[in-house]
Symmetry: C2
Subunit: 238 residues, 2 copies
DNA sequence: TTTTGATTCTGAACCTGATTCAAATCCTGC
DNA sequence: GCAGGATTTGAATCAGGTTCAGAATCAAAA
């Protein structure tokens, strides 16, 4: 009974087509201008067919974010696999994250939009669950890096905190920076240029504060940026 | 010629009414369910009148955020005015920010939504400018606190970085935490409970990393939380 | 007090775009 | 070749933001 299987495959194929096309349309015309009817037409299907895959526009956007999350996870995987000390690899995660956001501006915007309550609530629970599930490998990677750091003696296990909790700080720094960078006009108003360089400096300062060995002292903006550039080249652009 | 003045006042009064009511409706029924026609009706005005004040729904939301920003600034003012060392006051800013977000969950969600590109772009430029302008005092407060810390010898001026840039790290930590907290289900999935306590710990670690005197060593979660609680009580709930 | 012209208010009509669903079409197994 | 279920279609429906022609109001002038 290969029939059902083939149908299943065709359906998945079509879903991919819809998502790919949606990504292109968003890239070309902005998140604002994505229209369900136009998307369907552009894929040479009827509107109704589109709704067999996605329960709503929001649902589609969450699905799209999920697709992007795949490539996002890869960044973390690379950082983890890099041949370097745990501290440098933790720093590399921040570098990779920024690098990825810069290379995929639409994805970064999409994520921000999708996680805003109004959108999130309108997607199917299964879809939301699935997106969160796709992020799971990221947490697993971080967790294992922290575990390795503790095992290796680079980081002192802080009292009752478990691995993920220890890594929350750098994570928040990155998230917060993305969020500020997306707020058009805000950083300019504060006369903050080169936000990425500053993020890297602050990550290093925080890692120092955590006592993550080997300490980088002093933390020079220029040197930090140079290290970030090197990591970007060696780890993420090969 | 007091006529024009009176009209002006009435108009402002009405604008306040619209915004207040909008805030209430959002609190009661969620951001999603705010409808322009219903809002106007509930204020006993016609839809069109509402549009004499706000060029679009998005514009109204930005205006609403602006109103909230007023009270937000107050938090920073209080932290700055607190009788304590510069480091404790910087920490107090983080505590106040979290406290405020907790007390005004709708505001926090609104801010997140408003700054998403799709909404931001649809508000009038003047309105956006105005919202950013309302945030200016915040940056000014932070800037002056950092300046004081340097002058007082608590903080070493880092090379070419100016005041605001030095304060970017703690700011990102707070922003990032808000952003993560809003992502329903994410922190649970990562088994991170008490995110606020962790934020405070990380702020202290970062301040240590920055060499902001007097250092807090070691940074104990329980002690940090106790300090935060005390600050909350003494500085923000009086 | 009436007139007048401007200003403001009104809300039904308009418009865009997401969503639905009855009919048409396509399968597949007999 | 055909019956009946599954899938696809796209025009119709619906929701809700936005507009605008006319009604109402107002203030100054006559």
């Amino acid at each position: 009974m290969g029939t059902a299987e083939r149908k299943q495959k065709e359906k998945e194929e079509r879903e991919r087509l819809f998502l790919t096309r949606a990504g292109e349309m968003i890239r070309d015309e902005g998140l604002l201008n994505l229209q369900m009817a136009r998307l369907a037409e552009s894929c040479e299907y009827a509107t109704g067919t589109l709704y067999q895959h996605f329960s709503s526009k929001e649902d589609l956007l969450v699905a799209l974010a999920e697709q992007g999350a795949h490539r996002h996870v890869d960044v973390f995987r690379r950082a983890l696999a890099w041949q370097a000390g745990t501290r440098d690899r933790m720093f590399a995660i921040a570098v990779g994250d920024v690098h990825f956001a810069r290379k995929n501006p639409q994805y970064a915007k999409l994520i921000q939009y999708v996680f805003a309550e109004a959108v999130w609530e309108n997607a199917l629970p299964e879809r939301r669950q699935s997106l969160l599930g796709h992020c799971e490998p990221i947490t697993e990677i971080i967790r294992s890096l922290v575990r390795e750091a503790i095992y290796h003696g680079d980081l002192r296990a802080g009292g009752s905190l478990h691995e993920m909790e220890l890594a929350l700080g750098p994570w928040c720094l990155c998230e917060g920076m993305h969020s500020l960078v997306h707020t058009q006009g805000l950083l300019e108003k504060c006369r903050i240029h080169r936000p990425e360089e500053l993020l890297f400096v602050n990550v290093q300062l925080l890692l120092n504060g955590m006592g993550w060995q080997p300490l980088m002292e002093p933390v020079e903006p220029a040197a930090t940026q140079a290290l970030a550039d090197r990591i970007r080249r060696d780890v993420f652009e090969s």
